[in-house]
Subunit: 413 residues, 2 copies
């Protein structure tokens, strides 16, 4: 991508209303633009990151054998009355024509449970799981912290359906593992810990995936031996590590980035989602639900990985692998840089080429650091004289000269 | 994809509340499921079609040099008051906390125009264009006809920004051409005609792309010489073909599938979106907007291409290129079919393999016709004896036996 054609204008000044590191850096670096508190436009760089996060999550969901679907944002308010959740204070209510009342779904149990009545009849239809990437809405009283607490945000939600509690338990453990794999691939595996939270009326615990981060609004109590934590909400009942009984739990601020929950028959009971067992008897379907906030992941990554100059994107979700900067005023530099840019594209490397001719070297360097791709490549009269390209990692001070062949190997590693 | 793993249950019975051919066939064939009038869930087959439509449109937008972004569904009602559109009867209104009022955007001029104030300063920033794929909401008084008139639907919207009216005109013509290319690639080029409609206060005409189709709710007057039409709304002022002055226009029912509109400075004036010209003088930005309804395209395609047995998907947007049916009770048939399925996947051919063992041949044939992929492949004892696969086009009666090598060539054509 040519920088001159990209819808991105980086800014040296901090946005006046940025209330968090992620809001500030993502806005300054041209990834997002605020519409209002908790509601953002994703500009091309931001959309590229969001799509990469989505692809990683999709791959892991497909490994679980889950089917991708897309449910609507609108539902009849009636469905939420059935589950006694119509008064949830984070629900947005809408008036349709006549007497009809709608709700904007902040989660989709009220949609998928009745939907599955068309597809589940017998034990032979189970187990079954479906997921979606969908925009969620929450009438948030304190939308803030950039992408961390939104009124409108992108989520992956997975729902599973089982004949027995035991089968639900088995799948639940598989999802737990998939979530660890996902956070590892997203580059936030080390900071993200399984956290024991309230299980509601059916289970002892549910599980959250909490990312330890100073910007977090949640308080968790971390067992540094097991790398699991207890949510502050249940610390009075659960004072020790649930895995090793360690009493020396360390309080940490954290952001909830995912949660997994055994719904059991809570929703299948309300909507009469039943199946016939092998004796022909009707039984309630056992259910689980599993969420990850994608736009929130993007915000957390920036909170975790930045320095005073800008963002440091992990390799797996960076908008581009490298930025190529043409430095100098000589036409020849831009001509050669264009050639190298085309050759790198051919090698399948994602490059953002800063081809602007009227911008100083200092400004281009600062801009590249702000955007924060893992690699920076520089072409100038000096590098051309040595028939090489200057390469530097975003998080290192070491500058190397490499030939194009070496470069391709370095970037493909 | 294995049929047994696919979230799809076809049905022989017509859904009681299906009010159109597309609602009936897409529901029976397991592509969509109705949530309420005008609001649908896309099941895996439906989502595959939607994604293919999206990819075709995205490619053509990128050819225009437009940047992909993603704007939010929520906006402050205030922005809609500014443009005097807050009372539009199709707007959904929401109450936030305190005094805040929101609107669910049915279109995005109220978002992108103020947004661009951060990115457009000088004539050097123009021309510029950005597009998105985004869920739109309309408080529709008569949501009906399946995917044709939705309360919640997927749209591509493109917005362009120009220094001069002349530059807007040039881009407008490029988009017109891109739209013809898109509808051709979607397989509905022949049925879709450029239709002259009211241009509002600034232009003589705007242009709609109308697909001639008996299920359509619009009335257009078609010039059969030029393949352009006049919308019934302006037929009193424009009684002849605007291109050849032909007076013998033929009234036809049609569905509006896209529209392109010169907004001129209507919105840039309200939001003070200006640029400095080369003399340093502030001028209003000229704007255009260009929409295509993706879920509506899916509905129209089914209205256009179906027979009494089911859907006939165009090659470019079919959920799978071919369905492979294993027929018979012999284990060997399923074993060989599995091998052939794997080999076709390796060739990059998208196959839905009906591997169900307890389903009769007749039922599998009927099911395949209902789903409607362009090709049907059959493997049975009989075909295995001839070391071949039976191949049939969905819209032909001719059945051929082909070797695997021939098959790959046929399907890749």
């Amino acid at each position: 991508m040519l920088y001159s054609k990209l819808f991105c204008k980086t800014s040296k000044t901090t946005p006046a209303d940025a209330d968090s590191v992620n809001a500030r850096l993502l806005t300054q670096a041209g990834f997002i633009q605020k519409q209002m508190a908790g509601v953002y436009t994703f500009l091309p760089l931001g959309l590229r990151v969001l799509n990469k996060i989505q692809n990683i999550i999709r791959e892991e969901m497909e490994k679980l054998g889950a089917n991708e679907i897309l449910m609507p944002a609108l539902t009849q308010e009636e469905s939420w009355q059935k589950t006694e959740r119509a008064n949830l204070d984070i629900l947005f209510h809408l008036e349709g024509r006549g007497e009809t009342k709608f709700v904007l779904n902040p989660t989709h149990e009220e949609v998928i449970t009745p939907l599955m009545k068309n597809f589940i009849a017998s034990y032979r239809d189970l187990p079954f799981s479906a997921f979606q990437f969908q925009t969620k809405f929450r009438n948030e009283p304190r939308a803030k912290s950039g992408l961390l607490r939104g009124r409108e945000f992108l989520m992956k939600d997975l729902y599973s359906f089982h004949a027995t509690e035991k089968d639900l338990d088995i799948f639940y453990e598989k999802v737990k593992k998939a979530y660890f794999d996902i956070f590892k691939r997203l580059g936030m595996g080390k900071e993200t810990v399984l956290t024991f939270a309230s299980g509601g009326s059916f289970s002892k615990f549910s599980h959250e995936f909490q990312t330890v981060c100073p910007a977090g609004e949640d308080l968790i109590h971390l067992c540094e031996k097991c790398c699991v934590a207890v949510n502050d909400e249940i610390i009075k009942e659960q004072k020790v590590c649930p895995q090793c009984d360690n009493k020396a739990l360390v309080p940490q601020k954290a952001v909830e980035v995912g949660n997994i929950f055994k719904l059991r028959t809570k929703f299948s009971d309300v909507f009469s989602l039943t199946y016939k067992d092998n004796l022909g008897k009707d039984r309630l379907v056992e259910m689980g639900c599993y969420g990850i906030g994608l736009s929130r992941v993007m915000g957390i990554i920036v909170e975790l990985f930045h320095d005073e100059k800008g963002i440091l994107w992990p390799e797996t979700i960076t908008p581009f692998q490298a930025q190529l900067l043409a430095i100098g005023k000589e036409k020849n530099v831009f001509k050669e840089a264009e050639k190298i840019y085309q050759q790198l594209i051919k090698q399948g490397i994602e490059i953002l080429y800063d081809n602007r001719e009227d911008i100083s070297a200092g400004e281009k360097f600062a801009n590249a650091d702000l955007i924060g791709t893992p690699w920076r490549l520089v072409i100038s009269e000096k590098t051309l004289a040595k028939k090489a390209v200057e390469i530097k990692k975003r998080d290192s001070k070491k500058i190397e000269l490499q030939t194009l062949t070496q470069l391709a190997i370095t970037l493909k590693r």
